[in-house]
C-alpha cells in the first residue's frame, strides 16, 4: 500500500494505491488519525490506484469516518474501480459515503 497526499483549498486529497488488507489497513487508519491530529478535517480519499480491499480495509475506513464525524469532519471518496467498487457495494459503503468519479467532482461537491 502506498499513500500520497495533496493539499487542496477545501480538502486533503489522500491517494491510496496497492492493497488495503489485514496487514496494511492499520497503516491507513494511523495515517488518517495523524492527519486529523494535525488539524485536517476534510478528506477526499482517491482509490483509483487501489487494487484490493478486504474487511480490514473497510474497518480502517469506518473507524476513520467515525473519528471525523465526532469532530464535524468529512470523508468522501473518488475513483473506485472493479474489485474495490464491488466490495463497497456489497458492504453497503456506497450508501453511507459520498463517492465521486473524479477528484474534481468530489472537491466541487464538498
Amino acid at each position: 500500500m502506498n499513500i500520497a497526499t495533496k493539499k487542496e483549498a477545501n480538502a486533503l486529497v489522500v491517494a491510496v494505491s496497492g492493497r488495503m488488507d489485514a496487514v496494511t489497513a492499520p497503516e491507513f487508519e494511523k495515517s488518517i488519525a495523524d492527519f486529523i491530529a494535525q488539524g485536517e478535517k476534510t478528506f477526499l480519499i482517491n482509490l483509483s490506484g487501489l487494487e484490493y480491499i478486504s474487511s480490514a480495509g473497510l474497518r480502517g475506513i469506518l473507524a476513520s469516518a467515525k473519528r471525523l464525524k465526532e469532530q464535524d469532519g468529512k470523508i468522501i471518496f473518488s475513483g473506485l474501480q472493479g474489485h474495490v467498487k464491488e466490495v463497497f457495494a456489497i458492504s453497503g459503503f456506497q450508501g453511507i459515503f459520498k463517492i465521486y468519479d473524479s477528484d474534481a467532482e468530489g472537491l466541487k461537491g464538498i
Binding site: D21, A22, V23, Y52, S54, S55, A56, L58, R59, L62, A63, A65, K66, K69, G82, H83, V87, I90, S91, G92, G95, I96, F97
Partner: protein
C-alpha cells in the same frame, strides 16, 4: 481430478500472503478468471484472519489450507485446532446503519457468504473445518 494440495503454516498474520499466494496460484492454474481468483483471495483473507484473531488467542497453533478443483468448481478447505467457532452462524450486518451507528467489524463473514458459492462448517475431532466452494463464474 488432480489431488488436493495443501499448505500447513503458523496461524499468524505473517502467514497471510503465503496462504493467499498458494491458493490463487492453484486457482489460476485450474483456469479460473482473475476476477474469480480475486473473489477467492478476499474470502480466504476474511476466513483465515478470523482464525488468526479468535481461534487461539495468545497461543497461535497451525492452520492448514487445502484446495482442489474439478468440474468447473474450486474448493478451499481451512482447518484449525482452535476453539469451536462457526462463522456461518453469525448474523448479517445491518447495511442501512449510518457511519455513527455502524459497528466496527462484522463485514468479514458477510463478504464470505456473498462471494463464495458454497460455505459450510463442521467441527471435526477438535478441528474447525470451513469449506468454501467457487464456481467458474459467480451465480449472482
Amino acid at each position: 481430478m488432480p489431488p488436493p494440495r495443501s499448505i500447513k503454516i503458523p496461524a499468524v498474520l505473517e502467514s497471510l500472503q503465503a496462504i493467499t499466494e498458494f491458493v490463487t496460484a492453484a486457482a489460476s492454474t485450474a483456469g479460473f478468471s482473475a476476477r474469480r481468483t480475486g473473489d477467492m483471495e478476499l474470502v480466504l483473507e476474511e476466513a483465515v484472519t478470523n482464525v488468526f484473531k479468535y481461534a487461539n488467542p495468545g497461543n497461535p497453533g497451525e492452520i492448514e489450507v487445502s484446495c482442489c478443483s474439478g468440474g468447473g468448481k474450486f474448493s478451499i478447505e481451512i482447518r484449525d485446532s482452535g476453539k469451536e467457532f462457526d462463522i456461518t452462524g453469525l448474523p448479517d450486518p445491518d447495511l442501512s446503519q449510518d457511519i455513527a451507528e455502524r459497528p466496527i467489524g462484522g463485514l468479514g463473514a458477510y463478504l464470505i457468504k456473498k462471494l463464495a458459492d458454497e460455505v459450510s462448517y463442521r467441527r471435526l475431532s477438535g478441528f474447525n473445518v470451513l469449506t468454501l466452494g467457487f464456481k467458474q463464474e459467480p451465480e449472482k
